[in-house]
Amino acid sequence: MTAKISVQDVRKTFPLKNEEFVALDGVSLDIADNEFVTVVGPSGCGKSTLMNVLAGLETPTSGRALVDGEDVVGPGPERGVIFQQYALFPWLTVRKNVEFGLKVAGLGAAERRERADYFIRIVGLEQFADALPKMLSGGMKQRCAIARAYAVNPSILLMDEPFGALDALTRVTLQEQLLETWSREKRTVLFITHDVDEAVFLANRVVVMAARPGRIYDVIDVDLPYPRTEEARLSPEFAQLRNRVWTSVYHQAPGIAAGR
């Protein structure tokens, strides 16, 4: 069986004055269909770069990134992306934002509206469908961005620290909502975060990255059943997994002397 997403020995360097900066080095990762994978790691370890490569916004310096067995060339609507900075179009209402991708795909007005309203309801923004982004709170903006990504029916969702800028309470609520949405509308998800709790709570599998050079340090399976409730979050199994991920993130063995 071919993996839904396959990253094969990807290296990505950025020119830096007269040397090169190695943002990703020898990164390989296979993600199965409908799997929920989270990525944690210290700042600057190349998490966003990895996501941009999969989104088709960056090309790897060497190695391959495959989706459904085919090389990624440029962005495409089958891969939905949710950016850390919301990236809503500020001149469009919530509904028009959600309809954007559908319009690009050439759907008729009635169908667009129906689909948009469905996803706006799923993320609980129906009362704000006609509001401009400036009137929404951070959490509402992010929910709108999630609805917008879902609306074009991507088989893959790439999420870059989507809840990073939110307060802890909103974050927990959105995590639960995301899992609920995901269980209703199964997708393959790559979710980047710097929050260990979040990584464990959401994932089938947690990928821990290390910096300088950016690489995969550890992969930890999370064998907790879905749906995950508050109970799961407070269970000893969860605590154990969290400790493992925590150790892996914050007590990484000294880096391989390669890279910089």
């Binding site: 989104a55 088709g56 916004l57 440029g74 962005p75 495409g76 609507p77 891969r79 939905g80 992306v81 950016f83 900075q85 990236a87 809503l88 179009f89 500020p90 001149w91 469009l92 954007f100 991708g101 690009v104 795909a105 401009l132 982004p133 400036k134 917008r148 074009v152």
Partner: protein
């Protein structure tokens, strides 16, 4: 007395539009309106007092009488029409040319490389300084005056449009790309709306610049127009006519600016207020 060309300056940097005013309470706003009225009435009173105390100003009633007289024999309308049609022609052509050029410069490196040196160079020259050259090359008809006004409006607007395009948030462009949008759609649906606030600021600055250039151009060479009328009045020491012209110029400029400001608030109300 020489012609006061120094009143024409290079376009000022885009001023921040008066935001946040809407959030103030009503009472605060009405206080402001009252103060505005007090200030205007007080200013006119001072002028009147000075006029009656030996300064060689015409009094306000004399100016009003002059305005009525000029309007009565059609001179005022003729001048306003001549000046407005010049400024609107120059301004509209200038903005219409500036917007596509600004977009091209922001979107294509080639266009930027080709246009930028000329725009940067001509931006440092007050458009009026080109008038003698333009008069020699284009004769003394309407064309040279409209041309310098065009230049004034164009330069102000092109820079602003260009800056609008290059400062479009990359993540918005990426967001459109990952939703499947191609270049043409991104341009029409993201770059254009995102640069609209910049374009409108550029147009406002361009309009101010066009208006200033117009009046000065008419002082130099014109068969009619508000600037020409002042020039004639100066020869006959007709201060009342000069006052009428100044007031009309100010009011027309203000009205045009308010119209653009209105368009700006309608078109760019989506912006987050900081």
């Amino acid at each position: 007395m020489s012609v006061p060309t120094s009143q024409v300056e290079a376009p000022a940097p885009p001023a921040a539009s008066p935001r946040g005013a809407t959030r103030r309470t009503r009472s605060r706003r009405s206080t402001l309106v009252v103060l505005n009225a007090v200030s205007i009435v007080g200013g006119i009173a001072c002028w009147w007092v000075l006029a009656l105390n030996g300064f060689q100003f015409p009094t306000p009633p004399e100016v009003v009488a002059k305005a009525v007289q000029l309007a009565g024999n059609g001179t005022l309308q003729e001048d306003v029409l001549a000046s407005l049609s010049r400024v609107l022609a120059g301004f509209l052509i200038g903005s219409a040319a500036a917007i596509p050029v600004g977009f091209l410069m922001g979107w294509y490196t080639t266009a930027r490389g080709l246009f930028e040196p000329w725009i940067q160079f001509f931006r440092t020259i007050p458009p009026l300084a080109l008038l003698p050259l333009v008069l020699v090359l284009l004769g003394i008809g309407e064309v040279p005056k409209v041309f310098v006004i065009f230049l004034a409006a164009f330069l102000a607007c092109v820079i602003s449009t260009y800056q609008g395009v290059v400062s479009v948030d990359r993540t918005l462009i990426n967001a459109a790309r990952v939703l499947g949008a191609k270049d043409a759609t991104i341009f029409a649906k993201v770059v254009v709306p995102a640069s609209t606030p910049f374009i409108l600021v550029g147009m406002r600055v361009g309009l101010g610049s066009a208006w200033a250039t117009l009046v000065a151009a008419e002082l130099l060479a014109a068969p009619a127009g508000l600037g020409y009328r002042m020039q004639q009045a100066q020869l006959y020491y007709d201060l009342a006519t000069i006052f009428v012209s100044i007031v009309v110029i100010g009011v027309l400029g203000l009205v045009m600016d308010r119209l653009l400001l209105f368009a700006e608030t309608r078109l760019t109300g989506w912006q987050e207020r900081r």
